[in-house]
Amino acid sequence: MDELLAVVGYKVRSSDMAEVAQKLEQLEEAMGNARDGISQLSNDTVHFNPADISNWLETMINNLDRAFEDSSSSDYDLKAIAGKAIYTTAARVKPSPAESSSSTRPLVLVDSQENGIRLVHTLMACAEAVHQNNLSLAEALVKQIGFLAVSQVGAMRKVATYFAEALARRIYGLYPENPIHHSFSDMLQIHFYETCPYLKFAHFTANQAILEAFQGKNRVHVIDFSMNQGMQWPALMQALALRPGGPPAFRLTGIGPPAADNSDHLQEVGWKLAQLAETIHVEFEYRGFVANSLADLDASMLELRPSETEAVAVNSVFELHKLLARPGAVEKVLSVVRQIRPEIVTVVEQEANHNGPGFLDRFTESLHYYSTMFDSLEGSVNSQDKVMSEVYLGKQICNVVACEGVDRVERHETLGQWRTRFGSAGFTPVHLGSNAFKQASMLLALFAGGDGYRVEENNGCLMLGWHTRPLIATSAWQLATKSVVAH
């Protein structure tokens, strides 16, 4: 890889440089010759992974070649499938083996936080004291944080309070004993969904990739590792219903942990979706699956049907990182996913490394991350939703800071780290393109409560962040043996 280009965001092998230069010249000439060439490449073409210059150019050259044959328009409709998908061939550029972002720790401050910096220093000093087992110093600092926090406003005060509480738990050994009742955390998640666009973005971008993977299939099956209240699926079902040529038969398998009150909440969710399916005339089948951990699943339990008759998508939103609490669990789940032989696997995860071995680095990383998260909530209109969202995030903070071992389930890792895992497990990337990017940006523009949200493209994946700090990342994957060029 040419190092100088890599540093400025482009992946070109030194040995390919002359060929890439030739493609640039070739494309420039083709653009000059094609009628409306520029307009077509700008408006109609779906672009993928601009970091891979060679493939990006190749796509455009091919698009211009087909200019006169293919005049299908692609009006972007937030609900429907947008245009045609072009999968790049299995990446000529292999993902670099040690690609992890453990050396990147973004820091974003807003005006009010310059005063809050002292608070951050004290939090850090306290974490350091905890790390060195100097508990009397840590205790004194935690109390000081309490005093300092009161004089702050907005996000800084709340974040400091949650982190101080988590530190206190660690100091006094008051680890949270009872796991959160799932129905309570579901309810918190619903408020989080309403308050800020992260979950909406996650669902939207995952659904976009699933829709494109399901093109031309008549029977489709989604296996959702993150069923919760099923909030992701109405939009997908509606998009399928509007598909030109009619909807496919839609099967959904929803997986979730047992409910505290032993109610069959997964079935209830399924029932509501069935009612929706009926009103929009989509043939619908549903199965709810209770499992304490995704690692308890085997492919044989899922009643898979032959892949010629049914196309499968596996979806996971903020679930996979929990598996990292037990050795071998994520590897097992990924191997089960391989056995499922899905068309696509959609994954959304927090964009942060909260799973490092050192407590202090974990603390700092999560402090920066949740500060930015809380900042982004400040503009929310509905105060009840906002409070619930803060509680939802506060529980994550507590888990990251105060828990260890199998109890510490909020083991977020970065996109770079997940890329390595998926690569090792036998998957290759399915790139999300400029159409999904544009639609996600439009969705954000509609969302009230803060114009600091930004969508970023990262080597075929999409990330949503607050100002300059990416906070969640959506990626999509297929089995390594499968590389499709769809027309």
Binding site: D2, G9, S42, H47, H121, M124, H131, S434, D451, P470
Partner: protein
């Protein structure tokens, strides 16, 4: 037609390293897709294509960064780059800024407010090419760099970018923790402010500096890296070099139409500060010294050289660095002599006593 294109492409290939040629040609291609004939700009595709990087509070090659968001102006933020020594180091790899202390109580640390290029329409302070450039700038000059994410055209025309530049200048000057130098009392220490910019960034530097001089605000020096100036008249270099080294004159015209108020022409003083509608800076004694870097293969060089001459005629101090075989964008990759010449000049410019 095809023949003359080939000649042009080969010419630019022979004067820059291959990877530089690929980088700049790739930008040229992307930019061609983004400008629409009706004057609008495909902003979503622009943001999709732009390679961005987050800030990083873990030092890399001795430089760490963080972002400061100005919540009153949508999209305006500053990315600050500092060296390891300018920090409050915490255990572990990370740095948290210490806003209670100045940068130094013994040495002078120049603070360079940087405005990225992109013809007023492209790029951001967190674009990878500019993040990388600013990091190199910090190490070369032992300075603090504050890169400004100003509002861009055509969505935000003149004078938005200049207003954001002014906001940035005021913000930087008022940060106690950006002060440096030996001083007897706090009231004597100050922020040692310079301004720098490439292309449209250079243009912004000029206009902010004029306002600063008029209002008695001290800026110690301007660094203009092939700055964007122009006018209605077509100069000899524009005609001679049109389309030869990555840049076409008609594209330059597009960007001015997108930036200037609607209906205005290129003799508007924003574009042509010393032209028929411009003004003399004679007597504006606190206007800073200027370093102007001109690339010898840039079609705008006649305007840039005229700019330098005008400043001299107004009795202002000008260093001119003319790089005969350089194209635009030569400083994005440090793989050529022009890059080192430029960095040397900048270092001497902001550290005059070293």
């Amino acid at each position: 037609m095809a023949g003359s294109n080939e000649v042009n492409l080969n010419e630019s290939r022979s004067v820059v390293p291959l990877n530089t040629w690929v980088l700049i040609s790739n930008f040229k291609l992307a930019y061609n897709l983004l400008r629409r004939a009706d004057g609008t700009f495909n902003r979503e595709l622009a943001e999709f294509l732009d390679r961005k990087v987050p800030s990083n509070s873990i030092p890399v090659h001795g430089v760490w960064s963080f972002d400061h968001i100005d919540q009153r102006t949508p999209g305006l933020f500053y990315r600050l780059y500092l060296q390891d020594s300018h920090q409050r180091r915490c255990a572990g790899a990370t740095v948290i800024p210490d806003m209670d202390k100045p940068l130094s109580t013994t040495d002078i640390v120049p603070v360079i407010i940087f405005f990225h290029g992109g013809s007023f329409s492209h790029s951001s302070a967190n674009s990878a090419i500019y993040d990388t450039f600013c990091r190199r700038l910090v190490n070369v000059s032992n300075s603090v760099v504050v890169s400004v994410n100003y509002r861009r055209s055509p969505e935000h025309r003149f004078p938005c970018a200049y207003e954001d530049g002014w906001t940035a200048l005021e913000w930087v000057r008022s940060r106690k923790w950006l002060r440096s130098g030996r001083s007897e009392s706090e009231s004597e220490s100050k922020v040692y402010v310079y301004m720098a910019g490439d292309s449209s960034g250079g243009n912004i530097v000029h206009h902010v500096a004029v306002r600063a001089a008029e209002e008695g605000i001290e800026v110690l020096g301007n660094i203009l890296l092939h700055p964007l100036f122009g006018g209605e008249k077509r100069t000899e270099s524009e005609i001679r070099l049109d389309g030869k080294y990555f840049v076409k004159l008609q594209d330059r015209d597009w960007y001015w139409r997108a930036f200037l108020p609607e209906g205005e022409d290129r003799d508007h003083p924003a574009c042509n500060p010393f032209g028929p509608r411009g003004r003399s800076l004679k007597g504006l004694s606190s206007f800073p010294k200027t370093l102007v870097c001109v690339a010898g293969l840039d079609l705008l060089q006649d305007w840039q050289l005229a700019y330098a001459n005008s400043l001299r005629s107004f009795s202002h101090h000008v260093n001119l660095l003319y790089l005969k075989d350089a194209t635009i964008g030569f400083y994005f990759l440090p793989n050529n002599d022009h890059f080192s010449s430029l960095m040397d000049q900048i270092n001497n410019f902001v550290n005059p006593n070293c």
